[in-house]
């Protein structure tokens, strides 16, 4: 079956793990890895916080396991815009969608669209050198920022807003963000969690990290870590190891004397935003206290408490309450769960649930935005296992062969970035990084990326 060819759409961790798994099969199909950016590895490059550089080292594994002789990197090509799903189906035996979840969930409160109120993911893309976020220009001159959400993106963003410049200077944070953050006036970051300390979605590792930053006092109100009876019971009976650790850490932080550090992160629990106020830009956020209740199904829920709202003055609001996938033209979409409708990775029709032959999903577009990097490896193994099972019985494409694909790309994607182009970008970024004693100095605008890619072609 060596003349088979599979297209993977999206070169983030899910696409990379899927490619690696396909390439491990001796005599298995050839792989074309499509990516809409000129650079591979998705959120590993553009999401993982720059101060977590050990994790970013996974790119070496991806480079080794994915960019080999049987896999072509086809960057700067957007499926659904430059080429269509139909194009892929005409040329490939199978298509694997690994496009992730590209938008953020909104809060649905008044004032959310005021300048200065941003999705945290845009801010993450901005400091990580995502070429589409370069012009974001987040307002950093005010004294206080408010982050909504209690997950790891919220923790990353809180750290990035308060990290010492000298520490940031050792990371691969984009140049424009380094400059802006060095000049930032932000002294206080308030992180709001809808539910209580026992239900915070932080990992204990991220929570611990926030509590041990140089130059930052982590403030937790001792009253906030006194658990309500419902949470106390939940933690004792159903709480995970992480939830227990989190409560333990939060109590430690609540009891600690402030160091008198120049910057401060405050974690507030059982607090939801109700409105963002300001004249032409964010000036304050109005918040409501919650209490935890168990609903009829036994699930813990945060409900508004019968207390007056409180207003917190701030210039920047970053919301981090989840990601959401967007539909792809001509591909089935599950409008309720924001995924491609699928059975263990085989894409099916949204209504009839009949399989769509040759179409697969992996990663967040398959299971929703859950799990951590390694979760995608097992997810990819499941999808690719089914694909390999199906491969011999799939209908043959109308126009197979690399020549037909190359002709299509020459016409529709004149600025294609191949593996040689990516190697040129990677080499230049690392070389500049070495001179600056940083892991890499990123090229953060599309023209620079494409110009450098051409030098490798």
């Amino acid at each position: 079956m060596s003349d088979r060819r599979v297209a993977i759409v999206g070169a983030g961790p899910a696409g990379a793990f899927a490619a690696a798994r396909l390439l491990r099969v001796g005599g298995g199909p050839e792989v074309d890895l499509y990516e809409r950016l000129p650079t591979p590895w998705g959120l590993l490059r553009g999401g993982v916080a720059p101060d977590h550089h050990e994790i970013k080292r996974l790119d070496e594994t991806f480079d080794r396991d994915v960019l080999g002789p049987r896999c072509r990197f086809l960057g700067n090509v957007e499926v659904g815009t430059d080429i269509s799903h139909g194009d892929l189906m005409r040329h490939y035996d199978a298509v694997v969608y690994a496009v992730g979840a590209q938008t953020d969930k909104s809060l649905g409160i008044p004032g959310e669209d005021l300048p200065g109120s941003l999705p945290a993911t845009d801010f993450v893309g901005w400091y990580n050198g995502h070429p589409d976020r370069r012009e974001l220009d987040p307002p950093l001159s005010g004294r206080r920022a408010v982050i909504i959400g209690n997950g790891n993106v919220a923790a990353d963003v809180a750290r990035m807003l308060t990290l010492d410049s000298a520490e940031l200077d050792r990371t691969d944070t984009a140049e424009h963000a380094l400059e802006a953050l060095a000049a930032s006036g932000i002294e206080e970051v308030v992180v709001l969690g809808r539910r209580g300390p026992a239900q915070a979605a932080f990992t204990s590792a991220e929570l611990r990290e926030m509590g041990h930053m140089d130059g930052v006092d982590l403030h937790v109100d001792p009253a906030a870590v006194e658990l309500d009876p419902v949470s106390e019971e939940w933690l004792a009976q159903e709480g995970t190891f992480t939830a227990g650790k989190n409560v333990e850490l939060l109590r430690e932080f609540a009891a600690a004397e402030p160091k008198g550090a120049p910057r401060r992160i405050e974690l507030r629990f059982l607090t939801s935003p109700v409105a963002i106020h300001g004249d032409g830009k964010v000036e304050s956020i109005e918040v409501q206290r919650n209490r935890i209740e168990r609903d009829d199904s036994g699930t813990l829920r945060a409900r508004p408490a019968d207390e007056p709202t409180e207003t917190i003055e701030c210039d920047l609001v970053l919301r981090s309450v989840g990601y959401r996938a967007v539909p792809l033209p001509d591909v089935p979409f599950d409008e309720r769960n924001y995924v491609l409708p699928n059975e263990r990775g085989r894409v099916v029709d949204a209504d009839s649930r009949d399989p769509v032959p040759g179409v697969y999903a992996v990663g967040w577009i398959k299971r929703g935005p859950t799990g951590i990097l390694g979760t995608n490896k097992r997810d990819a193994n499941e999808t690719v296992g089914l694909l390999l099972e199906d491969l011999d019985s799939l209908p043959a494409p109308q126009a197979p062969g690399v020549e037909a694909i190359d002709a299509l790309l020459a016409e529709k994607a004149p600025d294609l970035v191949t593996v040689e182009g990516w190697r040129a970008i990677d080499a230049l970024e690392r070389e500049r990084g070495e001179a600056a004693e940083r892991p890499r100095v990123k090229l953060a605008d599309r023209d620079a990326l494409l110009g450098t890619a051409r030098t490798g072609a």
């Binding site: 994790i55 996974l58 990992t203 590792a205 190891f241 650790k245 990097l373 097992r378």
Partner: protein, 90 residues
């Protein structure tokens, strides 16, 4: 001596695959696997072979006497995970 896993673990399961002593948990399929924020090494059964250190793609595993200061909590954390698991708390 034993090896320990620090908080930058990404739950890539390659360490579990290479471990000859089956001392890294939870493993895929365990009821506590999905909720675990990282993998842990049982210091009671680790045989100090170094295979997981070589395999880890993000350098999250250290010998107990070489744990960097910022991860010093990981020694207790790995042990505690198994203590709590033993008494059926997880």
């Amino acid at each position: 001596m034993a090896y320990v896993i620090a908080g930058n673990c990404i739950k890539d399961d390659v360490c579990i695959e290479v471990c000859p002593a089956d001392c890294i948990h939870p493993t895929p399929g365990d009821p506590d696997f999905e909720s675990a924020e990282q993998l842990y090494i049982d210091p009671e059964t680790c045989i100090d072979c170094d295979a997981c250190v070589e395999a880890c793609p993000v350098d999250a595993i250290f010998a107990d006497h070489e744990v960097p200061e910022k991860y010093d909590y990981a020694l207790d954390l790995n042990a505690q995970f198994f203590e709590q698991r033993k008494v059926g708390r997880l």
